[in-house]
Amino acid sequence: MGLRAKLVLALAAILLPASAGIVALQNYWSRRVTAEAMAEALQERVDRGALQRCERAPASWSRRHGRRRRHRRPPGDSPRRHLGELAVYDAQLRPARPDQPPLDPRMAAELRRRGHAWRADGRRLHVAVQVADGGPCAVMVLSRPLAPTPLWPALAIGALVVLAAGVAAAPLAVRIRRLTGAIERAQDGAPIAVDDSPDEIGELSRVFAAEREKLRAQMEALRRRDETLTAFVAGTTHDVMIPLTVLQGYLVKLRDRCGGAERELLGLALEEADYLGALMRNLGVAARLEAGDRPLERSELDLGALVERVVARHRPVADEKRVCLDFAVPEGSVSVVGDLTLLEQLVSNLVHNAVRYNEPGGHVAVVLEADAETFRLEVLDDGPGVRPDELSRLGERRFRTQAARDRQTGGSGLGLSIAREVAERHRFALSFALVRPRGLRATLSGRRG
């Protein structure tokens, strides 16, 4: 229910009973005043000798004055106006005439207590006055028709007020609605248009606008800090890449000059340097993925060339480990739309894992196949694989917690989590399956374009 409807209903609920009450009160007071005037007029008549006249012949006096219709003015009795119909009772409240109605018991009770009483019975007003302590005319009751007090003016005023409230509330409702709209739009970045009236709604809109501005500034500061941090990670990664490349060069040179146990040690050093490189790349990619909702940098890329590049990257370490790494791609280019760096890191992580966990004499095969609409990339190895129950958990997004530091699993948690996330962001499917007699098959598939 709208504000306006609520206001109108509330006003109606208050005003209608209230005006009925006022009308009732007004009725009561006007009757009381009339009754007092009637009692006074009666007393005046008694003072002028009406009591004595009545006591002389109560029944006939009563009858004469008890007629309802306008009557001829009796001589001696000189009321200026017709007071109403008179009924006469003795001290025991017995009527002077048999055709008179008995006195209302409530009126009788009050009369006894106070010497006079009045009562309205719907159409007529009755006033009783004890004019003598005894005798046949001890109590006189004057009655007169009541002018009905109409209820409708009060109701009309009430309705008018309710209507006016409804009309008056309309601009307020419009302004509040406008403010609501402005706040809703503010979520899309639009500033809140300030309602500059000096009233409560204006105040509300000013507070909202100020709060929103504060919030926006805080968000902006956070975003800038986030950007700085991402840039820092990217910069640091970049700074590490050059010495790492040089280090790898020295390690290879050293390995080529050594033999025996030293050569074996250098082989292990090479693998560690390779792991370090993969970690740095993954951190760079993770920083990009974690940097909020930045969109992918999509472009058309050749998946075949990408596979070739990734295989060339891992072949030195595969050779060192005596793991046979081979690949097959279709003859033409396999163009796919995606983020070059992210997809390359995805494939690189799959190949890296396949090589790293394999044993000397093992194999890794990377196969890319495509038709006009879809592609399918498989990384197959004959390494130890994983336990069947671990299969579904491969690539769970755990790197926000501790997978990156978990070197017991070779940090593969980070690489596979990134692979999973990059695949998701591209709407590609990434799945893992065990192969017989041993090994693991990672399959990435999706739509081209």
Partner: protein
């Protein structure tokens, strides 16, 4: 004559190492350390260019644009950033390939060799030679060290498919599609086995590739 390779790299140690790797692999490298000097170089004097994108003073991509304006020489980009737009722009501007740091010496050399080899790939129907095997599609003839070898149609198609991309593995499915009309991957092994036998010693040039299929190599030691 050794291929001359231009290296534009500002990092002293890395540059020296790359020069060492290239010399060790039998190339003749020329090393330029800064962008201004690199701008003055005529790219066509080299068989291949290796260009670092992060050069002080000159934006690597500008240099790439400059070279591409006049030359089609293969250009290999060195990149250290996990940033896609740089690589994509480099490829759009005409770079042939890129290598991201950190890289292994062998990795860089493999990329260099692949780029230098690329224009030699035969796409037409002319005679092809891999090691001691020669195949002529138009005459439908195969010779091993000059001696003709009789092959069935399937064997000829198999050998042809492999020889079109020497050194590259072909999947069993691709070979079945290329050579066997109604065959399966199981009968493929039978055909390959017969083909190897007919080629004699040269049959060892056809190498089984684990998890993929087969490939043909020029030198048996290479496989």
């Amino acid at each position: 004559m050794a291929d001359r390779i231009l290296l534009v790299e500002d990092d002293e140690k890395l540059g020296a190492q790359i020069v060492g790797h290239l010399e060790g692999a039998g190339f003749e490298p020329v090393w330029i350390r800064d962008g201004a000097e690199a701008r003055a170089v005529g790219p066509d004097a080299f068989a291949l260019l290796i260009l670092d994108l992060m050069l002080p003073g000159t934006y690597g991509l500008d240099l790439l644009k400059l070279y591409r304006r006049t030359s089609d020489v293969p250009i290999l980009i060195l990149s250290a950033r996990q940033d896609t737009s740089d690589k994509v722009r480099a490829l759009k501007l005409g770079a042939d390939d890129y290598v991201t740091k950190p890289f292994w010496p062998e990795e860089l050399l493999a990329r260099v060799r692949a780029r230098l080899r690329r224009p030699d790939i035969r796409r037409g129907d002319g005679p092809v030679r891999v090691g001691s095997i020669a195949l002529d599609v138009q005459r439908r003839s195969v010779e091993v060290d000059g001696a003709p070898v009789e092959l069935t149609r399937v064997e000829f198609e198999l050998l042809g498919a492999l020889m079109r991309r020497p050194g590259s593995a072909m999947t069993r499915r691709a070979l079945v599609e290329a050579a066997l009309e109604a065959g399966t991957e199981r009968t493929l092994d039978v055909h390959v086995s017969r083909l190897r036998k007919k080629l004699g010693d040269a049959g060892r040039q056809i190498v089984t590739v684990w998890g993929i299929g087969y490939k043909i190599v020029a030198d048996i030691a290479e496989g």
